[in-house]
């Protein structure tokens, strides 16, 4: 069947609780876009125009339903002082965490228009919005406070601090929240719809207790800030979130993107009040055949189309940088073909 709506129109209907022509299809095509464009990764994540052009090339190739401005979750931490190496063909690698050099009280809230690579992100959002913003939503990925906090620290030490130094962790959270809000504010003015990503708050990384104590309150504050704008807020957490599935509602997010969680269980628990996004296993995108992917995606979409509040067909995590193009195409075609709501 031929699409009737543009991705912008399709997403617009979803967030006002209307069924669009077919389900939105938004695999998390982030740095994979650099492969589509035939670009070195470093050229992608250090230059806003490059990032946007790669994303546009991916949309033109695959025809999915949103542009994802993102490379990795360290961008805010970097602007707050964490140092990264920039390998030519890999994503930035954390070298010296900011909190190894400075006290949290000495770290300043970054200025998104000038600090580190935040201007790269803003430029990418603006460029993509200029090019396609009337027909495609531009998603601006914003690392949540907990993830930024971990990127400001030596990870193991930070996890221990969640148990032994709660006041310190809360101070880190507050500052990371302020930084995230500042980035959101500028991302919105550039035309991006913020999507909050908190991969390090996954139950694969921290306990439900730590999630409830440190991650959730700041996710919620960030969501509430965005609700002041009447924006529909997406929260994405990678990995296994089964133990915190019930808590996710308390974030106030309007759309929840899940990874390694049972989809039936998620729909049962969440989808009366939030739209569910997910959750095709990205490792299969890298290592399965197009036929296997088409079959798996068909089953996923058929199951999820029943979600009362709506559903977005997506991958559980980022599409692997070097996933075969035919495999990604198989995902998208299968989601589109099997996701029709309209007769």
């Amino acid at each position: 069947m031929t699409d009737i709506l543009t991705p912008r129109e399709r997403f617009g209907l979803l967030v006002i609780d209307e069924k669009p022509d077919r389900c939105n299809t938004i695999p998390l095509i982030t740095s994979h876009a650099a492969s589509v464009r035939g670009m070195k990764l470093r050229d992608y994540y250090t230059n806003g125009e490059n990032m946007a052009r790669a994303q546009i090339a991916a949309i033109e190739k695959y025809g999915h339903d949103a542009i994802s401005i993102f490379s990795e979750v360290g961008i805010i931490a970097e602007a707050m002082g964490t140092e990264f190496d920039y390998p030519e063909n890999d994503l930035p690698i954390q070298r010296i965490p900011a909190l190894e050099k400075k006290d949290i009280n000495d770290i300043e809230i970054p200025v998104p228009t000038s600090d580190a690579r935040l201007p790269v992100y803003l430029e990418a959002i603006e460029y993509a919005y200029d090019a396609l913003g009337d027909r495609v939503p531009i998603l601006a990925y914003i690392p949540a406070p907990f993830t930024t906090g971990m990127m400001l620290s030596e990870p193991n030490r930070f996890l221990i601090q969640t148990i032994k130094e709660p006041d310190h962790v809360k101070a880190v959270m507050e500052k990371s929240l302020a930084a995230a809000i500042e980035l959101c504010y500028h991302a919105i003015d550039a035309g991006g719809l913020p999507i909050i990503v908190d991969p390090l708050a996954s139950s694969s990384v921290i306990s439900p207790r730590a999630y409830r104590q440190y991650a959730l309150p700041y996710e919620r504050k960030l969501v509430d800030f965005l609700h002041r704008y009447d924006l529909d807020v997406i929260l994405h957490i990678c990995g296994d979130t089964t133990p915190i599935l019930d808590l996710l509602k308390e974030t106030h997010a309007d759309l929840i993107s899940i990874d390694r969680v049972d989809l039936t269980d998620t729909i049962k628990k969440l989808s009366s009040t939030v739209r569910v996004i997910g959750n095709y296993d990205t490792s299969l995108l890298a290592f399965s055949s197009p036929e296997e992917i088409a079959s798996g995606v068909r089953d996923m979409v058929k199951l999820s189309m029943q979600a009362p509040k709506g559903y977005i067909a997506a991958t559980g995590c980022e599409v692997p940088i070097h996933a075969p193009f035919d495999n990604v195409m198989a995902f998208i075609n299968a989601a589109k073909e099997n996701g029709w709501y309209w007769d």
Binding site: E9, L13, G133, I188
Partner: protein, 463 residues
Amino acid sequence: MLKNIDPQKISLKEWSRQFRLLDDSEIRRFKYYNNDEWGIYLSPPATFMVYGARELRKLKLDNSLAALRLWGFALNESERLFRARQSGKHIIATMGDLGTVPVIAMAFPDCIPFYPDCTWWTPFFNESTVLLDKASELGTPEASCFVRSTLAAFHKMAYFPKPDILFASTGASCDDYSCIMQMVEDMGFELNWLEIPFRRKKQDHFTDEKYARTPQGLDYPERFETYLINEYKHVWQRMQDLTNDGDPEKLGESIKKNNRLRRLVDQIKALTHGAKIAPFPALEMMVIEFGNLYGYADIDEWIDILEMVKSKIIDRVKSGNGVLDSDAIPLAWITPTADPLLLNIVEDLGGRVVATEYVINQALSEIEEDIDPFRALARSFMNASLIGSTEERIRHISAGVDSGRIAGVIITNMLGCSHCAMETRAIEKRLKNVPILAIDIPAPLGITEQIRTRIAAFIEMLK
């Protein structure tokens, strides 16, 4: 918050900065259909820009809370219509008559009238050819009026919900629009057509014996009144069939409510156009005028917003403050611009709009309350802009020119609008004593430096 700021027009980014100062309680104070869950609409321009209204990046908007409320409400209309449907209300598409059928629809409980034809503006607010291109694919000629975007909107059903009932006017109305509505009908929508008669003065070669006059002083054959009353009773009957309701007293109440809105807008226009310094921008004033058609799908909230706007304007007039320089050149604007940016540009270049003829005269004057309501509606419609002569259409502008209140006239022509092409010449002939600038509105993103230069030269000449 926002109480002690000097009036001015500000950019989207400036509005975002200002919006951060607002308390949550202020944001949650205003809601449509009085719904706490999804009825909030006080969002900054950036919110609507994020969802695709790209021209907001270029537009400068008034910096008052009242204006923020006005814009939030107007730009939120699409969502509001879907929410209306979800909450069990009937969606009534009223097309082409511009101002009278919605008064009937509002007499029925939980019926929300709206104008699909107002999708006309969407390609410009979005800086997008999506709807226009789709309309061409669906069979409209590319040279037809921008109202063809309505056809695409009916095809997509993403801009408004499928109406429960559709009324469309034809006859002495815009021809391109009528053709588009025929195509909508051919797409499977059941249209209820109304025919609009052509208003004419008494002349010897016409056989009509009796003529009547509207309270606004326009003559028409009296039998047209009977004709329109029958058309409106047909609308009433269809509404009764839809709702299993229909209390004639409610029609009187609807007329009173719409009159309240019309009086309010009349006062706002008088205050704004008569002030020494323009207290409110022309773009917002256009939004206000068009709200008279149907109250942007929640007339009670819209009236409340306009009360706030009026209060703000009174404050500004009293304090001698405004949004333009005191020496801005007073202009009349004839035919609404499809591209809102043009109103900004004219003001930025030193112009000030002090009189308008936006082809909706029928929605601006009060409806008589002391006669049969159907007759009152028929007589009200007889004031319509496009059903009579050019002379009658622009008589208020002519009076403004004669009194010296208007120094220049801008006429905006629409690509493909045959009406515009013919009438602009006629208007120019009628307004011989004032300089006129006629601008052809290009497709979205089409405003060029050449157009700016023409406007700048025109205003410079008037100075």
